[in-house]
Symmetry: C2
């Protein structure tokens, strides 16, 4: 009888230990955060399905369809914004990227754009288009160049690299974009955006 | 006697479990890798102590001494190379950064520099200086711009961002540099460097 009790208690202790251990392991193993690198120039492919996911076969343009490229990945990351998009970019003339930002604005995503004063005025710049749509834009006037090219999506996804938001950068140059959710990397960019946004408030 | 045996075995099992668990925990908890963001323009400060760490007080220039800045951090990361430095940069005219690369070359660090053909020929470019010193340089001739600005130190530390290796970028522009050892981010840059290096081999 005594042996049965000991074995029984042993089994209970064993199952409890296994349960505790598995819970501990789940807590200790951090969820893998997104870390992705995209290189450019990007292959050319139709991106219409990213703008109209409900009817993915609606486009009959001559570009290849259903192909994932560096550019379509970049577009998807930007379009994933559900609450905020903070954008800090030197040159912004790419029509598809402009269309993405306008689409987010149409979905009531809060958008703030910080750009270089001199570049914002050149032919082809989309900054005027964004301003006309009611998107809040501020220009850096203090430095030689506001040379950043980064975006923070929903305060947790950082998109940064060498790529300006232009057609040449996407289609012709050797460029990189790094996409990460690593808090140690995202946090400083959020802080710097806040600093630059406040510093370039035209009301000051 | 039977009870003593059971208790004894229980204690042995317990101590073994504790040992196994602690080993498991040490293996599961990944060592934190370096993740750092540097913003520019950098404060101006003397960086002589980074080049001559054995005599840190040897410089009498008029710049502030003993101040850590974004630029001194960048220089330290580059100077930390002990075996290899792969550099892929659009514009390289900064004299201190050139001096750092030459110092590494003097220490027998294997250096490969990939740059933009058009920019490498402009006044002030350090590419000719590096070539004359015997450093292996290749120029990208295929794209509109080889617009990358990244370096991989010892195959494990990635330095990337918006900053070209120029004086204006360091002292006057709003720029960022991201420094990381995160393998998911470093690996693609190593692969892309290898691809570009092979692609731009003049012997091909």
């Amino acid at each position: 009888m005594w042996t049965v009790k000991v074995v029984g208690m042993g089994l209970v202790a064993l199952s409890l230990s296994v349960e505790l251990l598995s819970r501990l392991l789940r807590r200790l193993r951090p969820e893998r955060s997104l870390n992705e690198v995209l290189f450019f120039p990007s292959e050319m492919a139709c991106v219409e399905h990213i703008f109209t996911p409900s009817s993915p076969y609606s486009c009959f343009c001559s570009l290849p369809h259903g192909v994932e490229t560096s550019f379509s990945c970049l577009l998807r990351h930007i379009m994933s914004a559900s609450s905020t998009l903070d954008l800090c970019v030197f040159a912004f003339s790419n029509m598809d990227l402009s269309r993405a930002v306008l689409a987010l604005h149409g979905r009531s995503v809060t958008i703030r754009v910080l750009t270089d004063k001199h570049y914002s005025a050149i032919t082809g710049s989309q900054i005027g288009v964004l301003r006309k749509a009611g998107i809040c834009v501020r220009c850096d006037v203090g430095s030689v160049h506001m040379h950043h090219k980064f975006a923070v999506v929903d305060g947790q996804l950082l998109i940064t690299g060498s790529l300006n938001w232009t057609l040449t950068a996407v289609q012709s140059n050797m460029e990189n974009i790094l996409v990460t959710e690593e808090p140690d990397l995202v946090r400083p960019f959020i802080k710097e955006f806040h600093r630059l946004w406040t510093h370039n408030d035209p009301a000051h």
